[in-house]
């Protein structure tokens, strides 16, 4: 094997880094849950991993079955050099998608369920079966690549001979699941935007996958020829390009046909022109129009540069189409958007990088671009291949690359984990705590309600019936009108009436804290204000804590602070209730007595409250 170029070396290191960070984030997903690791919500349940890795990845890895059909069924031997390459792309593409799905589905340990629990009505059931069986088939098709370099030629020969049924099965399964991937989105007709929803999605997905899959083989061949410095056969590539163009044109006819048949052109150029229409135009011109124009001009088709432009355009266009169908088309109806976060990209890229590393490994150590010569056979009738030596095996596991990978892991793991756990713990994660069985506000007679305004598990008994009676007695309201006094039915933006709307004396100063009396201890008002540092109405930061002065006669305040309360009161109400009442309730012998300091009425003199209430009623 020739030595790696600098670009390839850097690429490999980056792939290892991405792969390891993906593993770290994947570990985090199982510790913290999907909510912490992803931006998926209840309204956007399918994110990057399903739409990009599975739906898009499957479409881009179609090369496997198209080329298999061309070589094994139609027997166009011209394309034999890309056979192994494209089957390998198929195998790794599906493998990476399935790996991403393991992180995506909620309960991956139940991944085997669909094999035994059947629901043949489900499109996803079809996708699952076809994808998993097809993956197995591609693995079988690939087996000769690996086994031919080990000294058991009989196995290799056997698989090579009995390939046909597997090839037929693989191609059939591919056509099936590509159309099923399209029908996945047909179950949400009212949620998906009409530009992407239609009732012929299965053939559309199938045909566009074939067109762009072929374009992807060309693209990858061009890219790898640059890395490994060999010259790709332009006649093969332009032949593939012709096939790709045919499929893309067919797809375009289906797409435009749907728009015309269902009279949806108003969504493209018309009264319903929105940003989705712009996106649609970009998508269709990238996916179909630009590549088809280039593919159809023979002069352009035979130039590597133009082919690269066209195929990458088809590649990006296909990704855009799948993401539009699976994610962006749902934005309008669900009234929410989905933007994947960093950890989703880590796993998404990590599985792809893993597949890329396996690909590079196979390309370097096995014969992927060339097939063994079937003309020169040894005495047993098997092709002559150089078997793996011990030295080569040793170099795989104990080369310089191994140490490099360990170094990369040491750097990447802490970096990824720190960035991930920030994401995970940065968002608020509620404590799962079952609501106690105490009845909250559900008294059937509604004589007493327990209110918990600040939701801290401390309830206030609210005399519902008593309030009604007061309204009837004092304000001469009918029974029905009393409800409206607090429950302002159908008033705009009304949530629930605050007690303070009537009891506006709740936040006022009480005789307990008497500013005038405090002031009298100082020589002037200015000095008193200087002592308080401000005028009293100005926010809690500026208040002096009571115990700054009353160190001796307010004992137990340290204990009170220990409980986690802020000893600086945000207002008089808090100062009195929090600083005084907390302990007095416990200290006093019988808080129900009116002259006890633990009773409300000790400060809230009944006369005063009633006066205030009447004053408010007069307004």
């Amino acid at each position: 094997m020739n030595k790696d170029g600098l670009a390839l070396k850097v690429l490999k290191d980056l792939m290892w880094a991405l792969c390891i960070s993906g593993l770290v984030v994947g570990f985090g997903r199982f510790v913290y849950g999907l909510g912490a690791a992803t931006q998926m919500t209840d309204l956007m349940p399918w994110g990057l991993w399903k739409i990009f890795n599975m739906v898009t990845g499957a479409a881009l890895a179609t090369s496997g079955f198209v080329v298999a059909a061309v070589i094994y069924i139609l027997q166009w031997d011209k394309y034999k050099p890309v056979a192994r390459f494209s089957v390998l792309i198929g195998f790794l593409g599906y493998g990476s998608s399935l790996t991403a799905l393991l992180f995506d589905i909620g309960l991956p340990h139940r991944g085997w369920h669909p094999f035994f629990m059947w629901n043949p009505h489900s499109f996803l059931f079809e996708v699952f079966w076809c994808v998993s069986v097809y993956w197995g088939v591609t693995a079988l098709e690939l087996l000769p690549i690996v086994t031919e370099r080990f000294p058991f030629p009989k196995v290799t020969h056997f698989i090579h001979e009995k390939m046909l049924p597997f090839v037929v099965l693989g191609i059939t399964l591919s056509t099936m699941h590509h159309s099923s991937l399209g029908s996945l989105f047909m179950t949400s007709p009212t949620r998906l935007h009409p530009l992407w929803f239609n009732l012929i999605m299965p053939p559309q997905f199938f045909i566009s996958a074939m067109g762009s899959g072929l374009a992807t083989i060309i693209l990858l061949m061009i890219v790898f020829s640059k890395f490994y410095k060999f010259k790709p056969d332009v006649t093969i590539l332009s032949g593939l390009a012709k096939g790709s163009a045919a499929f893309l044109i067919l797809y375009f006819i289906l797409r435009v046909g749907d728009l015309t048949y269902n009279n949806k052109w108003n969504y493209v150029f018309g009264p319903d022109f929105t940003w989705e229409s712009q996106l649609f135009l970009v998508e269709i011109s990238l996916q179909v129009i630009l590549p088809v124009i280039i593919f159809l001009i023979p002069a352009a088709r035979n130039k590597i540069g133009m082919l690269f432009l066209a195929t990458s355009s088809a590649f990006i266009g296909l990704i855009l189409h799948r993401i539009n169908t699976g994610i962006i088309g749902y934005f309008r109806s669900s009234e929410s958007i989905y933007i994947p976060n960093l950890s989703e990209f880590f796993i998404c890229g990590g599985v792809l990088a893993g597949a890329g590393l396996i690909f590079l490994f196979l390309v370097e150590r096995f014969n992927v671009f060339t097939e063994p010569d079937h003309e020169n056979l040894d005495k047993h009738g098997h092709p002559i291949v150089e078997y793996w030596s011990k030295k080569e095996a040793k170099s795989v596991f104990l080369g310089t690359q191994t140490f490099k990978v360990i170094l990369i892991a040491i750097i990447v793991i802490p970096v990824t984990w720190s960035s991930f756990s920030d994401q995970a713990t940065g968002s608020y994660r509620p404590v799962q705590q079952a609501v106690s069985n105490t009845i909250i506000g559900a008294d059937v007679t509604r004589s007493n309600l327990r209110l918990d305004g600040n939701l801290n598990n401390d309830y206030v008994m609210f005399g519902h019936k008593k309030h009604q009676e007061i309204f009837v007695k004092d304000y001469q309201l009918t029974e029905e009108e009393t409800c409206q006094k607090c429950h302002h039915l159908s008033l705009p933006k009304d949530n629930s009436s605050n007690c303070r709307l009537c009891h506006s004396d709740m936040g006022l100063d009480t005789p307990m804290f008497n500013p005038e009396r405090h002031q009298s201890r100082f020589e002037s008002e200015a000095e008193f204000n200087k002592f308080l540092e401000i005028d009293l109405s100005n926010g809690k930061e500026n208040y002096q804590a009571c115990q700054e002065c009353h160190k001796d006669n307010m004992q137990g305040l340290e204990k009170y602070a220990e409980k986690g309360f802020n000893h600086q009161a945000p207002g008089f109400e808090h100062a009195m209730h929090g600083n005084c009442l907390t302990c007095h309730r416990l200290i006093e012998e019988d808080p129900t007595k009116i002259d006890s300091k633990g009773n409300c009425l000790f400060c809230h003199k009944p006369e005063q409250s009633i006066l205030l209430r009447d004053k408010l009623a007069a307004q």
Binding site: V168, L169, P189, K264
Partner: protein, 288 residues
């Protein structure tokens, strides 16, 4: 095909919600929370606009009322469709429509693919995103009541009788009676009677509920070019594609084998011809 079509849809239990009677006290939510022993979820309305979440199976949505400046409250919950989209979507069959009316969720089968969430037209199923091994969460229509009789917690805790429980047939009759008695107040439409093939949970209202319930009107269905959904369910609309797949399996595999066979035979014939020609040439040579 589906279990619903075999059983009598008229005997199915359902819930009728009268939006005009709802005062938005959220007692139904509370009753549901207590019955299902759900944890607190202060952030439900921030997670999704309609307030449903993994810990809230029902919620109250506030919308503009009939009078300008007023508000109306609409209770959201699982619609328990007669031919549910989620049942057709679930690949392991964890979601099933019971003959007693409810769409039931079998926790032991679910693999967590969230396809039911994507394919529900009302986007009802919610997910335990905070759990490492999460499950789908949605209204269960209180199994005890369906079997033994009695009222679901949300219905029994409603103080105004805005939401009532009964067989679907009775509820539709009752809804139509209310509309007939008070034609000025109500919109002459029972939401859920026919849309998406009909739902077990139906609504009557003085304001159009299309946006809140995500249940388009006939005109909106026409605009989406899906007029059939005003009467038919989603599974019945797309069901033909399900049967395409096995057919596709047979035809494609047979076709491929056929093409391969024809090609091979041609090759063999050509080889034979060549051999024959060679033989003939050889014989001619001998003769000369």
């Amino acid at each position: 095909m589906s279990s619903t079509q075999n059983s009598d849809t008229t005997k199915m239990k359902g819930i009728l919600t009268d939006v005009t009677k709802c005062i938005g006290c959220q007692r139904c939510v509370e009753g549901c929370v207590r019955k299902n022993k759900l944890p607190r979820d202060f952030f439900a309305y921030f997670k999704a606009k309609d307030g449903l979440s993994g810990n809230r199976f029902t919620s109250i949505v506030k919308t503009e009322g009939k009078k300008p400046g007023s508000i109306s409250m609409v209770r959201r919950q699982c619609m328990h469709c007669l031919d549910p989209s989620c049942q057709a979507a679930c690949l392991v069959g964890a979601l099933t429509k019971r003959p007693d009316g409810a769409v039931e969720y079998d926790e032991s089968k679910c693999i967590g693919c969230r396809y039911c969430m994507l394919s529900c037209p009302f986007s009802i199923p919610r997910y335990d995103y905070d759990q490492p091994l999460p499950l789908i969460r949605k209204c269960k229509m209180n199994e005890e009541c369906r079997v033994k009789g009695g009222l679901p917690a949300c219905v029994s805790s409603c103080p105004t009788g805005a939401t009532v429980f009964g067989t679907r047939e009775d509820l539709i009759k009752e809804a139509k009676r209310r509309i007939k008695e008070n034609p000025d107040l109500y919109i002459d439409h029972v939401y859920g009677e026919y849309e998406f093939g009909g739902t077990s949970v139906i609504y009557i209202s003085d304001i159009p509920l299309g946006d809140v319930l995500k249940m388009p009107s006939k005109e909106e269905f026409d605009k989406l070019r899906l007029p059939q959904l005003a009467k038919e369910s989603i599974p019945s609309m797309v069901n033909t594609w399900v049967w395409v797949t096995p057919f596709q399996f047979l035809t494609v595999s047979a076709g491929l084998t056929g093409v391969w066979f024809v090609k091979k035979r041609k090759e063999r014939l050509e080889e034979k011809n060549k051999k024959k020609e060679a033989m003939n040439k050889g014989k001619e040579g001998e003769n000369e």
